[in-house]
């Protein structure tokens, strides 16, 4: 790699560090492991930067390297084995047009939403984080996860339904508990 390429790499990659670290923390659930994952991601991408084709999405490329690094790590393999869920296994929850749910979602605090995200299976968690937190387009998510756009859309819809259901159920239970007191 030339010095110029190296400089270019740093210019493109360093602004992504915070987002990559955050994503790595979510994936691994461990800040120390997340640090190692980010460092390994930077090393791998730096080595491969000369083969990186201009015009392709650099952010999606970096996130893909991070995700693949995680999936091949011990935690990644364990998590895949223990928490993988059948993509077709969830019943579709009809989106309600009722407003009480909207009111409940508005009342949800950050901690509750974080718990709702944390309980998602990895394939749903990563897609909802990339879409809503990183604000990636569907195409970019598809490149990152190496899946078709249709899969991104269906996983995202299911992930959101589960987050929504978790929040609504938790707040309704809290309300019921409050009424009984």
């Amino acid at each position: 790699m030339s010095g110029l390429e190296n400089h270019e790499f740093e210019k493109l990659a360093v602004p992504l560090l915070d987002g990559l670290y955050n994503f790595a923390c979510w994936l691994s659930g461990n800040p120390d492991e997340a640090r190692d994952l980010v460092q390994e991601t930077f090393l791998k991408s730096l080595r491969g930067f000369s083969s990186f084709r201009e015009g392709t999405n650099f952010r999606a490329w970096m996130y893909r390297i991070l995700r693949n690094t995680f999936l091949t790590s011990r935690t990644g393999l364990e998590r895949r084995n223990t928490q993988q869920e059948d993509e077709e296994g969830f019943a579709d929850l009809a989106v309600s047009s009722e407003t009480p749910e909207l009111a409940l979602i508005r009342r949800a605090d950050t901690e509750l939403v974080q718990t709702a995200i944390a309980q998602l299976a990895p394939i749903f968690q990563e897609v909802v984080l990339l879409a809503d937190m990183e604000e990636m387009r569907y195409q970019e998510i598809a490149e990152t996860l190496d899946v078709p756009i249709g899969t991104v859309m269906s996983r995202l819809a299911r992930a959101r339904k589960q987050v929504r259901a978790y929040i609504v159920t938790a707040l309704e239970q809290k309300k019921v508990a409050g009424t009984k007191r």
């Binding site: 030339s2 560090l17 670290y21 909207l102 387009r137 959101r160």
Partner: protein
């Protein structure tokens, strides 16, 4: 019965509908309370996930470690064949000039050592031994540990924050290492007893490096903040030690 348009709410909220469909969906929303409520709900949910998802912030030492990795790779970088030819051709000229140039331009080993110390501090889990933003706590901590005294400026109302300090050494001589924040930039200020010729400093592509003397004290500043951002802190340190 659920409206046929309802399944498009996610696409609409994510801005993934084609322009024509987007317009048609907006028109539909004006007459369908159910879809309008679903859109509102999805927007709220998206916002909540965006806020809650940003849960972890990369520690400053990770930035330092990643930058070190990148720079280490730079020094090992392979160069194309023609640059070796060019290098060989210019070698003779460089050798002829080196006796003069090396004497004048070689990076000061003290500065190189302090840059390494700055990076080590940023990568450390315990960057300072005395943790305090209060200069009246940090300065007395050095008493008895250093063969000189110094003053620290009041930072109230400035963009600078003192994080703390520890004792550092160059050539077995103790000095003060003070860690400051300039916005998001970590900045190390070293203070030693002045001796010999004033060191030659030159900023590199990663750090802004400054050195100056104030009386019997030799100051060094190493930061990845810009020259402009750090210059006021230099002036304040100079003023405090006049």
């Amino acid at each position: 019965m659920i409206c046929d348009w309802r399944e498009k709410t996610g696409l609409y909220v994510d801005g993934e509908l084609e322009p024509a469909s987007q317009q048609a969906f907006i028109t539909h929303l004006e007459s369908c309370d159910g879809c309008a409520a679903a859109v509102l709900e999805q927007q709220e949910l998206k916002k909540a996930v965006r806020i809650a998802g940003k849960r972890f912030t990369a520690p400053p030492e990770l930035y330092a470690q990643v930058r070190m990795q990148t720079h280490a790779a730079k020094t090992k970088a392979l160069r194309p064949w023609w640059t070796w030819g060019f290098a060989a051709a210019t070698l003779v000229l460089l050798v002829a000039l080196s006796a003069v140039l090396i004497r004048n331009n070689r990076p000061d080993p003290t500065i190189a050592g302090l840059v390494d110390q700055h990076i080590t501090t940023l990568a450390s889990a315990h960057p300072v031994d005395i943790i305090s933003e209060d200069r009246h706590t940090v300065k007395p901590w050095f008493e008895g540990k250093l063969p000189f005294t110094f003053s620290l400026p009041e930072l109230k109302g400035t963009p600078y924050t003192l994080e703390g300090g520890k004792v550092a050494y160059i050539e077995q001589s103790p000095g003060a290492e003070l860690l400051y924040d300039i916005g998001q930039h970590k900045t190390t200020v070293f203070i030693f007893k002045a001796s010999g010729a004033e060191p030659k400093t030159s900023s590199n592509s990663t750090f802004t490096i400054k050195s100056w003397r104030e009386g019997a004290l030799q100051f060094y500043m190493i930061t990845d903040a810009s020259d402009y951002e750090s210059s006021r802190l230099v002036s304040m340190l100079q003023e405090a030690n006049r």
